[in-house]
């Protein structure tokens, strides 16, 4: 994370002092890791929480006052990158939910109360996952969107993309029936999740190389 010079400070008055302290620290120390900033702020403000500092960083980044860059650990291949479970949690969660939904649709009884599982997983499968993996594939850099924007945009894009997939099915001999819908949405979700993880891997390597060249 590093500060951009010459930008006006538009911080809200109630958070101004903490924002200014963070900017002063960055001005003095240059590019730094977020945990180091947290420690520095906590030294002066013992009650400040992790969440508040995380919000502060996003706020400054959104207003263009600082750049936030996610520097991944060094990996030699995509396979090794996929081994970073915590970093790729979104990918594994998306794939797992997609794949669990399939047996739920075809094998679970449709009687109450078990059908509730299908209601919930099916809704996530249709109204969230397609948009979520699309957002991850299109905007792989964390700084491009904050988590809540990512979440809301995922729902919005799902509402747009799922019917477009259905429209394409309409013009095939398969028609808009259960199995074609399930197969097409699964392929769509897994495919874009793969694109997303691939883009993150490539960008991560670039960031890592830039980081090494400047440090």
């Amino acid at each position: 994370m590093n500060r951009k010079n010459g930008e006006p400070d538009l911080a809200l008055s109630q958070t101004k002092s903490l924002d200014d302290q963070a900017l002063d620290y960055l001005r003095e120390n240059g590019t730094t890791a977020v945990p180091a900033l947290l420690d520095a702020l906590r030294a002066k403000n013992p009650t400040v929480t992790d969440t508040e500092v995380a919000d502060l960083v996003w706020r400054l980044a959104e207003r263009g006052l600082v750049d936030v860059e996610d520097v991944p650990p060094q990996v030699r291949s995509l396979r090794e990158y996929l081994g970073l479970w915590e970093r790729n949690l979104w990918f594994y969660a998306s794939v797992t939910v997609s794949l669990i939904t399939l047996p739920v649709i075809y094998a679970l009884p449709t009687e109450f109360p078990l059908v509730v599982v299908r209601w919930i997983l099916g809704s996530v499968f249709v109204l969230f996952l397609p948009g979520y993996v699309t957002v991850e594939a299109l905007f792989p850099r964390l700084r491009e969107l904050n988590p809540i924007e990512r979440f809301a945009l995922s729902v919005g894009l799902s509402l747009a993309l799922v019917p477009l997939v259905g429209l394409m099915l309409n013009y095939t001999p398969l028609g808009i029936r259960l199995t074609p819908i399930v197969i097409s949405l699964t392929i769509f979700t897994l495919g874009l999740a793969g694109v997303g993880v691939g883009r993150r891997y490539r960008i991560g390597r670039e960031v890592r190389e830039n980081w090494r060249s400047t440090h």
Partner: protein, 522 residues
């Protein structure tokens, strides 16, 4: 994160949990809402704990938004407030949105196995039907629950985008969402289901433009949403064309011009290639001379003023206050020259839509919703007009609490909602009624319930759909048909009885529900 620096977190947590329990209790006691008689106040069937929980939630969301420094918490409070204002809708068997008209249209829509965009007035808007159909196939959710999921989803997207745009200005998003929710409560008609979906897409497009960082990913997202909006409701995309046109006048970079060209081409194609749409557009403009839109606005305002209940007066005060907040915010933006180019484009496009809407009714009813977006954005500026934060917080608390009067106001506009009986009645007609080709369209059907909606019939899988209109509190004898639950012992096993009107006191029974059609005379 504590809710209040002065009160322990567990106090507020307990209060919120109590509110949730009260809300769930009222839902369990009241769902699905119905009324025995149209003469009784409709909301008398809502269990009293709902109103208590409403007030607790309103105050809690206000407290969260005004005391927390966390953006996600403020966003959660904003989404929560919008959902709260519309929460009563979830007490109905079918909530506003894809009403009976659309519910019956959807199966007919796919029965032919192919989408025929020339077939019917709403067929050019296939995206909504596709979404409902696919969600239904995957989840097997009952249609009334799908409607709830859809309703929450579109509202969630709209409010979130509004919040993000305002907070990216460094302003208070909760203010904007509160004014949007209060004013929009009366003008955001979820009965226009495809259009509401398109409005949500337009708000995402506007959000992307506000936070635009030129990239291939951004352009792909915009183009996807433009196509989705075109297939959801081209009127909304026409508004976006106007918005983009103003943006081009401000900024002639190639990507705006490119997106404008594609959007314009899509809208033109929708209107030119569709005989339904071209007929609609020609018919619309040929009616300009009659100033239908102006008359429609006038009649709505005058009919609204006839109510004299104190609750209605309080609701008016709340809406007028929210409107004033937006107006002052807009004036402040202009005076201080702090408006962004996107603000100007949004206000210009909304003004244009409103201007067209004054003359052309079909655009007018939509224009108000579009204007709402611009007004709500401007209201985010309002807190800066106030000398102290306390005054702002007090006014925001007033708006949050008094929003309950807008909800109570439903009592005086019950036709916006549908009870289980309404839905069943419409489903019954759709499933059983057969019409000859000479039947007048639309048929006027009286029901003793509170529905104001449409429902459609499929002619054995053909694209032709008959449209009905249910009337509320009118003289049944002036209707083409009357629908009522049968009280006749001979038909005790039947759910509904359809009868032909135009008779004075006795009806010709044309068919009944159960063992097949029965033709008889009483």
């Amino acid at each position: 994160m504590t809710l209040d620096s002065k009160a322990p977190a567990y106090v507020w947590t307990t209060i919120l949990l109590a509110a949730i329990v009260l809300l769930l209790l009222s839902w369990a006691k009241s769902y699905p809402l119905h009324q025995e008689s149209t003469d009784l106040p409709f909301l008398s069937s809502v269990y009293w704990t709902y109103w208590v929980s409403y007030l607790i939630f309103a105050i809690s969301f206000w407290r969260l938004a005004t005391t927390s420094h966390s953006v996600p918490v403020k966003w959660g409070a904003a989404v929560g407030f919008f959902t709260l204002m519309n929460s009563l809708a979830y007490f109905y068997y079918y909530i506003p949105g894809p009403d009976t008209f659309f519910l019956n249209l959807a199966p007919a829509y796919f029965s032919g196995g192919f989408i025929n965009s020339q077939g019917f007035g709403v067929y050019p808007w296939p995206l909504f039907f596709l979404l409902i159909h696919m969600l239904s196939e995957i989840t097997t959710l009952p249609l009334n629950l799908i409607v709830s999921v859809y309703y929450f989803g579109t509202g969630f997207v709209m409010v979130s985008m509004l919040f993000f745009i305002v907070t990216r200005h460094g302003l208070d998003g909760f203010w904007s969402v509160v004014t949007f929710s209060i004013i929009g409560f009366f003008f955001l008609d979820y009965q226009f289901a495809p259009q509401t979906l398109a409005l949500a897409f337009v708000m995402i497009l506007v959000y992307i433009d506000y936070s635009w960082k030129k990239s291939l990913a951004g352009i792909v997202t915009v183009l996807t949403l433009v196509v989705a909006t075109a297939l959801s409701h081209a009127f909304m995309l026409a508004y976006f064309v106007v918005y983009l046109f103003v943006r081009i006048l401000q900024d002639r970079r190639y990507w705006i011009v490119g997106i404008f060209a594609i959007t314009l081409a899509l809208v033109s194609d929708m209107f030119i290639t569709s005989s339904v749409l071209s007929g609609l557009i020609l018919g619309t403009f040929s009616s300009i001379h009659s100033l239908l839109g102006f008359l429609d606005y006038g009649s709505r305002i005058t009919s609204a003023l006839t109510h004299t209940s104190p609750f209605v007066t309080f609701a008016r005060v709340t809406v007028l206050s929210a409107t004033a907040v937006s107006g002052f915010g807009l004036a402040y933006l202009i005076k201080k020259r702090r408006s962004l180019p996107q603000d100007i484009a949004l206000v210009s496009a909304s003004t244009f839509a409103l201007g067209v809407g004054v003359a052309v009714e079909v655009f007018g009813s939509r224009a108000i919703q579009l204007t709402l977006v611009a007004a709500a954005l401007a209201s985010g500026q309002f807190p800066e007009l106030l000398r102290t934060r306390k005054v702002g917080a007090a006014l925001l608390l007033f708006l949050s609490i008094s929003s309950i009067f807008c909800v109570i106001h439903i009592n005086y506009q019950p036709q916006l909602y549908q009870s289980q009986e309404d839905a069943q009645a419409a489903m019954f007609l759709s499933a059983t009624m057969e019409l000859d080709k000479d039947a007048p369209q639309p048929l006027r059907v009286f029901t003793p319930y509170i529905v104001r909606g449409f429902f459609g019939l499929s002619d054995n899988g053909n694209a032709s759909i008959r449209v009905f209109f249910n009337f509320y509190k009118v003289d049944p004898t002036s209707m083409d048909y009357v629908l009522a639950p049968t009280a006749t012992p001979a038909f005790a096993g039947n759910t509904y009885l359809a009868a032909k009107a135009n008779l004075t006191s006795r009806y010709d029974i044309i068919f009944n529900y159960g063992d097949g059609a029965v033709y008889a005379s009483t």
